[in-house]
Symmetry: C2
Subunit: 317 residues, 2 copies
């Protein structure tokens, strides 16, 4: 590499824009063998790691700003699903070559999203190889309060935030060359539901983020909770672009099976509905009841079998 690892980190990935919260438990950030971090007293540490590979999780020629946004947003979404507050992240970046324009755009977009969610970059690694981005996020929640997939009980209601399926429609638009539709923007710049996840601690009985597709992710709650989740297709909130599709089956298949939504699917006792509606109104995030929890297993949609049951990578499409 023309620019060595140390210079690269110093030039693009340090400075105030990545560490603007000096009080947030960062004893020592980038620049030693490890970062030294302090978890707030009485809080649990929550961690999640995700890799995005060019040509698999995103088209290799995608704008580096969108790649950076997606790489951090999908990880933040895992914190959101557990109701955790973002604290720190690490970045392992594998690059085929040093392209300073690419790096500057990537780092700028990463910094913008990191600042919005108050998460500091505390360490990383840069290597040469096929383009790939691995991010680990670290968050905190009061001890014992994190939301899990395992808490759904029969008679609970199933909810979803936002309009699932819109991102999958957006991917179609992007692959067809259009990036200016609402759907395309939803796909390109997923919005992790951090505030919603935090507000749902103590309210929801189980939660997951919708990355593989609503029905597939609902099935993960079902499996961990040892219950069945039943979704009513008529209750699904369809975004206007989705509702306008020629085939209703296509719209429902996208809503139930399309990945990349990064909305939250959660369950809650029926008595919690007013609290959830208050939270949703306060945050300006739509939350819709879409079904119920029953004894049994798996996730299904009443009277409808979507074309595909979960997310599949670019490479498979």
């Amino acid at each position: 590499m023309a620019l060595g690892e140390f210079e690269l980190i110093a030039r693009y990935f340090t400075g105030d824009r990545f560490a603007y919260q000096p009080g947030a438990g960062v004893v020592l950030g980038v620049g030693d063998d490890c970062a030294i971090l302090r978890v707030p007293d009485g809080e649990d540490l929550l961690v999640s790691i995700d890799t995005l590979v060019a040509g698999v999780h995103f088209p290799a020629r995608l704008d580096p700003a969108h790649i950076a946004h997606r790489a951090l947003a999908v990880n933040l979404s895992d914190l959101a699903a557990m109701g955790a507050r973002p604290l720190w992240f690490t970045l392992a970046l594998t690059l085929p070559a040093i392209d300073e324009h690419w790096l500057a755009a990537f780092a700028d977009a990463l910094a913008v999203l990191a600042q919005r969610f108050g998460i500091a970059l505390v360490g990383g690694d840069t290597t040469s190889g096929p383009l790939s981005i691995t991010i680990q996020v670290h968050g905190a929640a009061p001890a014992g309060s994190a939301l899990r997939r395992s808490g759904a009980r029969p008679a609970d209601e199933v909810w979803v935030s936002g309009t699932p399926g819109l991102a999958a429609l957006g991917l179609r638009h992007v692959l067809a060359g259009s990036r200016d539709t609402v759907a395309a923007r939803t796909f390109l710049r997923p919005e992790p539901r951090i505030a919603l996840g935090s507000a749902l601690r103590g309210v929801a009985s189980a939660a997951i983020d919708v990355s593989d597709g609503l029905l597939a992710d609902a099935a993960h709650i079902a499996e961990r909770s040892r219950v069945a989740l039943v979704i009513e297709p008529r209750q699904l909130p369809l975004a206007p672009e989705l509702a306008a599709l020629a085939g209703r089956d296509d719209a429902l298949s996208l809503a139930l099976g399309g990945g990349d939504d990064y909305e939250l699917c959660f369950t809650a006792a029926p008595g919690r509905a007013p609290a959830i509606e208050t939270i949703a109104a306060g945050l300006g995030v739509a939350c819709t009841r879409i079904g119920r929890v029953e004894a049994g297993e798996g996730a299904r949609c009443t009277g409808f079998v979507p074309r595909r049951a979960g997310y599949r990578h670019f490479a498979d499409d």
Copy 2:
């Protein structure tokens, strides 16, 4: 992929062998959106992330057991350099295809090393793409006690554990097809100096692990401590295989410039020498005084310029 991500994790990367320490702060391990972890009271959290890319950091056809050992060992070495006790790790594994023999051998070797060092696998991600392994390790040390690169002071002495350069000689052997030499085994199965690092807390003034090459890593201590590190070539501990090389310059170049040693280079006040010798004898790890800290900057070797100043990846060789 024939075997989906969820089945893959369940089959190879869960179970007692990866989570044999149920009391060690793991509230919730693999299987939800995040792991939930609890850092011991009064301790700092230390984290480090490293990526190994096939063809760059290791030959793509290297035995998967060696790949797994190396991927975890180089990360544990970062904890060792800070004097941290290993707690947990996450694994992001990118695979070109699902090869169950490869995965079984990889997971077995990973479990063996993880158990030896008491580190639990708490989360991960598997994706399809060019072979690459990213591991993040998490450790703990009493608050404020972690070793750093920044504490070296003029008049301190410079020390190194083991016999630097042996791993670089081992890489030559491996590339030439020989895996049975002491040097080759040193390269293939680096031994993170966890016990030594912990014992040096409160004794060493600065420390780093030797991954880029002794002189290059000494230069990192020099930079962070704003001092100069001067190494005496006559004091360098040469392994017998290294000393037996035809050219003394070649041996010294490997010892000073060869990477992959994963020994510790550290500094300490002269009065600490007896304590260090006691620690070294107790652990059965050779520690050798190899130079001194002076006012100034950079790291140099008296009367000798090694052929290359630091580690270069396979792709460059």
